[in-house]
């Protein structure tokens, strides 16, 4: 179960990383003065927006998964302990 969730998270991160790595403004050839930066040269906004929200999703899912895993572990240890105590009353 844990491995499956880990796999899903990894896929999510892998899917968002190309978007983050995407923005590279192209370099001009030679020195030509421009008064107004054309729209094609400006950093595209959409990848930033999407990566911000994607990071939020990853963070939340990661944290909830971490808490669930720790809770699982504690409850398992507790039931083990109770079982061993019932087995050997000392």
């Amino acid at each position: 179960m844990v491995q499956r969730v880990a796999g899903v998270l990894l896929a999510l991160v892998a899917a968002t990383s190309p978007i983050v790595a995407f923005q590279q403004p192209t370099a001009p050839e030679g020195f030509v003065q421009v008064n107004e930066v054309p729209a094609s040269e400006r950093l595209p906004a959409a990848p930033f927006l999407i990566s911000a929200y994607a990071f939020f999703l990853v963070l939340m899912i990661g944290y909830i998964w971490s808490v669930a895993r720790r809770l699982d572990k504690v409850q398992r240890e507790m039931s083990d302990l109770q079982r061993s105590q019932r087995g050997s009353p000392s």
Partner: protein, 221 residues
């Protein structure tokens, strides 16, 4: 678990599912256009962070001065959530800043102070983990100091005119652009609801962990 947990979790999930729709429908801001839409989650996460810091600070104070163990559970849960929401706030702000200001980071007062708050609460978690016996009290002291510094972070941006938007943006938002205000309010409520749910979950984990330790001690004795 509390019987309200599941229905509230469903509500929170629904709110977050609707949030992108609301955000896309919100009016554009004149200078920053599309990338300004990060604002809805960025602002909401700072609200959740404030809630986390208040919880951690108050619970730490109660734990330190009254010795109430339940307060300690809330303190550690608050600190963890402060680190999580703070991390998102810093990253989302950085991403927004890269587009709007052209730099990933700026050493201006609010950003610096926000980073330091994050470090303080990471320090809180480190102390609990590596401080040895009695580290809960040390961590509580960290929590109180962190909570005390937080108001300075909030007001810092009013005292120094820098590139970060000032707090007056929020006060006049309702009057100037009602379309944005509704979405901001919606996202903030969603975040605070998420904060409460995560807090409850984390406190439960802490209670179970402490109970387990107690059982181990009993089994040995």
């Amino acid at each position: 678990m509390n019987k309200y947990f599941t229905p509230l979790a469903v509500v929170a999930a629904a709110m977050f599912a609707y949030a992108p729709v609301a955000i896309i429908g919100a009016p554009y801001e004149s200078t920053m256009l599309l990338v300004q839409k990060i604002f809805y989650f960025h602002f909401s996460t700072w609200m959740a962070l404030t809630a986390a810091i208040v919880v951690c600070g108050a619970a730490s104070a109660v734990y330190l001065f009254r010795g109430n163990p339940r307060a300690d559970h809330y303190a550690v849960a608050g600190a963890e959530l402060a680190v999580i929401f703070g991390a998102f706030g810093l990253v989302s702000g950085s991403i927004w800043g890269r587009k709007a200001w052209g730099v990933w980071w700026q050493w201006e007062p609010r950003l610096t102070m926000a980073l330091l708050l994050e470090l303080v609460f990471i320090g809180y978690l480190l102390v609990r983990r590596y401080g040895g016996p009695g580290s809960e009290k040390l961590a509580a002291a960290m929590g109180i100091f962190g909570a005390a510094t937080a108001p300075f972070v909030y007001k810092s941006v009013d005292w120094w005119r820098t590139i970060h938007p000032q707090t007056t943006v929020m006060k006049t938002l309702g009057a100037r652009s009602p379309g944005m205000w509704g979405v901001v309010w919606f996202c903030t409520v969603a975040f605070l609801l998420l904060f409460v749910l995560l807090l409850a979950l984390r406190v439960r984990l802490e209670e179970q962990r402490v109970e387990l330790d107690r059982l181990y001690l009993e089994a040995e004795g």
